[in-house]
């Protein structure tokens, strides 16, 4: 019910935070706390030290800079879901962000926290893969950009080193002809996702698909791309049979498990429908712009 004791640091600047991380191999970074604090309360985790980065003011922003949407890692999920550019140009991100947990959790939970948690059932990693986002990581030693394809390494594991903090998420904002969507299913009375599918694609003038990225949540040991499915869409108009074929390829690329929430068979069947829906919706979005 209540956490064990820990040493607590609340750096006021990024520099200070990075110093602390550099010097303290056993600390955990605390952001919105909507995943970390519950774990501490159940004593599933009892880190010796917490570095609370919520006091770092310059990590909360959503900035549209040319063709990139730059989102500060401490931006809350609510702020992400409500941002004008996200709403108008990145439906997949809005659809995912506005369905995470509940409104109160979204008021504190951050985009950075959700991504770094890298829980296989989290929704945002799939969206980042589909949107081909980059994650900006900083340490005492400097800054690097990590593409979404390399960022999510495994369950709870990202490409960040112990000394790095995720500071910014960069998402390409494409113009006309691009569309994206996120579709998921969870238990009717709330809770974690049973499965989710993110699609981002572009359509050529004649309505055939020119580019496609498809990613899947909660159907494997980590977030997955469905590359065969993506390739099968290229040059096609997504008719019913094309969607069916593409969805089957996506399901073939998944590795769902059975657990309390769902059996792997159910996950496969649900995923099939979700991929169809996500691809279909992102296509409609692309054609409408």
């Amino acid at each position: 019910m209540y956490p064990r004791s820990f040493d607590y640091f609340a750096p006021k600047s990024l520099g200070e935070a990075l110093e602390l991380l550099g010097g303290n191999p056993e600390c955990k970074v605390l952001a919105g706390g909507q995943s970390l604090l519950p774990a501490l309360k159940l004593r599933a985790l009892s880190p010796k030290a917490l570095v609370d980065i919520t006091g770092i003011k310059d990590l909360r922003y959503v900035r549209h800079e040319g063709h990139v949407l730059a989102i500060g890692a401490l931006t809350t999920l609510a702020a992400v879901a409500n941002d004008q550019t996200v709403v108008s140009s990145l439906p997949a991100l809005r659809e995912a962000a506005e369905q995470i947990a509940d409104p109160l959790v979204r008021n504190r939970g951050t985009i950075g926290g959700n991504l770094c948690n890298a829980d296989p059932i989290n929704d945002l990693p799939a969206v980042m893969l589909a949107l081909n986002a980059s994650m900006v990581a900083m340490s005492k030693r400097g800054t690097r950009r990590i593409g979404a394809d390399s960022f999510f390494v495994g369950a709870g594991d990202t490409a960040l080193t112990r000394e790095e903090i995720l500071t910014q998420v960069e998402i390409p904002v494409q113009g006309a002809g691009f569309g994206s969507a996120y579709r998921k299913v969870r238990k009717g009375s709330g809770g974690f996702s049973i499965a989710g599918a993110a699609s981002c694609l572009s359509a050529a003038a004649e309505g055939t698909i020119a580019q496609s990225r498809i990613a899947m949540t909660a159907v494997g040991p980590k977030v997955l791309r469905a590359e065969n499915a993506e390739r099968a869409l290229l040059g096609e108009v997504p008719s019913d049979s094309v969607l069916d074929h593409v969805a089957r390829l996506a399901v073939d690329a998944s590795h769902p498990s059975s657990d309390l929430t769902a059996s792997k068979e159910y996950r496969r069947r649900v995923l099939h429908k979700l991929v169809r829906d996500a691809v279909g919706a992102s296509y409609e979005g692309a054609m409408a712009r």
Partner: protein, 673 residues
């Protein structure tokens, strides 16, 4: 209970809001194994300090079981469910108390747990001193030769366990001054707690006082005596400091007494016109690891009600409670009534399908035109008039056109026995009332004021319903089983008439002025036994999406409440209970793995309904007065009885899938794309 005007300001006084000086917080060390021998326990307060058995107190519980199956306060040489208390630690700060749990060292020798009824029947006994894992078994209803009915239907049903999950978990503060033990507790029944503590700790009744704190919901789980309450009391007496135990949600999910958890095998023998000629059934509860709780006795109560509102003249049921390595089963809103109705209503629907009749037609033909006592002991008035009107009111014919609706018809049999107590004291122009039933959201205050202002001719403002306190009433029972309006209300009326008689004796005639002018005190225990049954019917309409997810679009109720003492409250109870009924069918479960470890560990897994899950409600009430002086009948549990079978039938109609258990999983209903 604090008034709504206080509760909306956050000015309620729930047990954790009560602070006494020098309080010690208690944390409980619990078994991680579903079944194990305990080789040693080091640290904390444990069986080395107190050896005692918790008998059956509270709703549906009784003490007449083999001592060998009673729950020990602290585990002695064995543990039998994950979460079973083994030791307790104490500290001035609750965070530090939880830290102290790390100091407890228990050596276990794990054994293979028994997690299903089927396993339990063939496994060796869980408890030394018993011959099997059947706690009690008996046959209800005289035997008969099977009629040569052309239609014979047999089915097996399962209703999974459900955790009560009131928003406020359990909690208690025990305080001992060297002579008297005073306990503040979140509870439905100060009297069952008091009797339980006296019995378990061998305390004199006059030395124990139990006071109800504002209680944040209960639904059955807060009438029982729990080991943790005994520990807190014993620790208070040992340390001479108040001891506070506030349950965490995780503890509630793991180690309180969940309800439901019943298997039913039903065999209907019927004619081709749908008339049921005979019923044979088996009802078995998964009673959990210890006996004496409601789970031990509910199979017999379920069996008694199985014929429902129908005139079935031959019926015989084998009822049994079986032990498994899970927490003991307790009452959960309905406490046997929903189970009985579910089994019968599901068979009625199958019968309708088998004989090609409408769900309403097959029920109609089995209703009674006279008062009827079933071979299982259930007493009902003529059910045909109510049912006919219900089908019309609920517009069942119209709704059934689209094949998305389900109908249910049931009897609510409230827990009237043994009656209830009430005390009225008039002093200085004010009227104070104490009731043996302890409210926790049912607005007893409102009906008490109404009944008393009617009986005594006084303004409702002159009347205060005081909090449950075992010092101010000699005897009392409690709030559960839809009983408060009936027997609590009847007791209030009886006390009022007693006071009126006193006024008449003193002053020659009764007037409200004469009452308020004087000093009077009347406590009565209004004895009641027997059945005060009422009918109800539901129609539910659902939609199922391509993922197999069910949405209940409409939930319509037609209930006889005898007399609606507080109309807004009656509707509120019906809505709340309906959502619980929906929860039972669509979301709620208690799941253990093969090792007996709890998998449903938070409220999402437990499936508590959220605002998005609610349907449109349509409620119509009839008032067929009961023979009680205030004409009321029960209502609280009606929706949990009627809603689940109606929803399940609606799902069957929409999906074409036969459903024999709750909860229903989307996996069973998902359509192929």
């Amino acid at each position: 209970m604090s008034a709504p005007e206080s509760l909306v300001k956050g000015a309620g006084k729930y047990v954790d809001d009560i602070t006494l000086p020098r309080t010690l917080h208690m944390a409980v060390a619990r078994s991680p194994h579903a079944r194990a021998n305990v080789l040693s326990v080091k640290g904390g307060m444990n069986a080395g300090d107190l050896q005692a058995l918790v008998g059956g107190f509270g709703e549906g519980a009784r003490g007449d079981v083999n001592r060998a199956v009673l729950h020990p306060v602290f585990a002695t040489d064995a543990v039998n469910y994950v979460g079973q208390p083994v030791a307790a630690v104490f500290a001035a700060d609750r965070y530090a108390a939880e830290d102290k749990l790390d100091e407890i060292d228990v050596e276990y020798e794990p054994l293979k747990p028994v997690t299903t009824i089927a396993e339990a029947l063939s496994a060796s006994p869980l408890h030394a001193g018993t011959r099997s894992n059947v706690i009690q078994q008996s046959w209800i209803g005289a035997d008969f030769d099977d009629p040569s009915s052309p239609v014979v239907l047999e089915e097996a049903f399962t209703i999974d366990r459900i955790t009560n999950n009131p928003l406020e978990p359990r909690g208690i503060i025990a305080d001992y001054d060297g002579a008297r033990l005073t306990v503040y507790i979140s509870t439905q029944a100060v009297f069952s707690i008091k009797r339980g503590l006296c019995n378990t700790l061998k305390l004199e009744s006059s030395n124990v006082r139990v006071v109800q704190a504002d209680t944040g919901g209960a639904f059955g789980v807060k009438s029982a005596l729990y080991p943790e309450y005994v520990m807190a009391a014993y620790a208070a007496m040992t340390y001479r400091r108040p001891v506070k135990w506030i349950e965490s949600r995780s503890e509630h999910l793991a180690a309180s007494q969940p309800g439901r958890g019943v298997e039913g095998k039903m065999k209907l023998l019927a004619r081709t016109d749908g008339t049921v000629e005979a019923l044979r059934a088996e009802v078995t509860t998964d009673a959990g690891a210890f006996g004496g709780t409601a789970g031990t006795f509910s199979p017999f109560f379920i069996a008694m009600q199985l014929t429902g509102p129908y005139g079935i003249e031959r019926a015989r049921v084998r009822a049994a409670s079986v032990m498994t390595n899970k927490p003991p089963q307790g009452p959960y809103r309905g406490a046997g009534r929903p189970e009985a109705a579910f089994f019968m209503e599901r068979m009625m629907d199958e019968l309708a399908d088998a004989v090609g009749m409408g769900a309403d037609e097959v029920r109609l033909i089995n209703t009674t035109t006279q008062r009827f006592t079933s071979p299982l002991g259930l007493e009902i008035e003529a059910s045909r008039p109510f049912f006919t009107r219900a089908v019309a009111e609920l517009k069942y014919r119209e709704k059934s056109q689209s094949d998305t609706a389900g109908l249910s018809f049931f009897v609510l049999t409230p827990a009237v026995t043994p009656g209830e107590s009430a005390r009225i004291r008039v002093q200085n122009g004010a009227i104070d009332v104490w009731l043996g039933s302890n409210q926790h959201g049912q607005a007893h205050t409102a009906f008490v004021k109404r009944l008393l202002s009617e009986e005594l001719g006084v303004a409702p403002d002159a009347i205060t319903l005081n909090t449950g306190d075992s010092d101010t009433l000699k005897h009392g029972v409690g709030t559960w089983g839809s009983r408060s309006a009936i027997v609590g209300g009847a007791a209030v009326v009886a006390a009022a008439r007693n006071v009126k008689a006193q006024v008449e004796r003193m002053r020659g005639a009764y007037t409200a002025e004469a009452l308020l002018d004087g000093s009077y005190d009347a406590e009565v225990f209004d004895k009641h036994s027997g059945q005060v049954n009422s009918f109800g019917a539901n129609v539910a309409t659902v939609r199922v999406d391509k993922f197999g997810m069910v949405t209940v679009t409409e939930c319509a109720a037609h209930y006889d409440v005898g007399r609606a003492l507080t109309p807004g409250v009656v509707e509120a109870q019906i809505v709340g209970g309906s959502v619980q009924g929906i929860g039972q069918v669509l979301y709620e479960e208690v799941v253990h793995d093969a090792e007996g470890r709890l998998l449903t560990k938070d409220l999402f897994d437990a499936g508590l309904p959220i605002a998005e899950n609610i349907p449109e409600f349509s409620i119509s009430i009839v008032e067929q007065p009961s023979s009680y002086p205030h004409r009321a009948k029960g209502v609280g549990e009606a929706p949990t009885i009627g809603v689940p079978p109606a929803v399940v039938r609606a799902i069957e109609n929409v999906s074409g899938v036969r459903i024999r258990h709750t909860p229903v999983s989307p996996e069973e209903l998902i359509a192929d794309s």
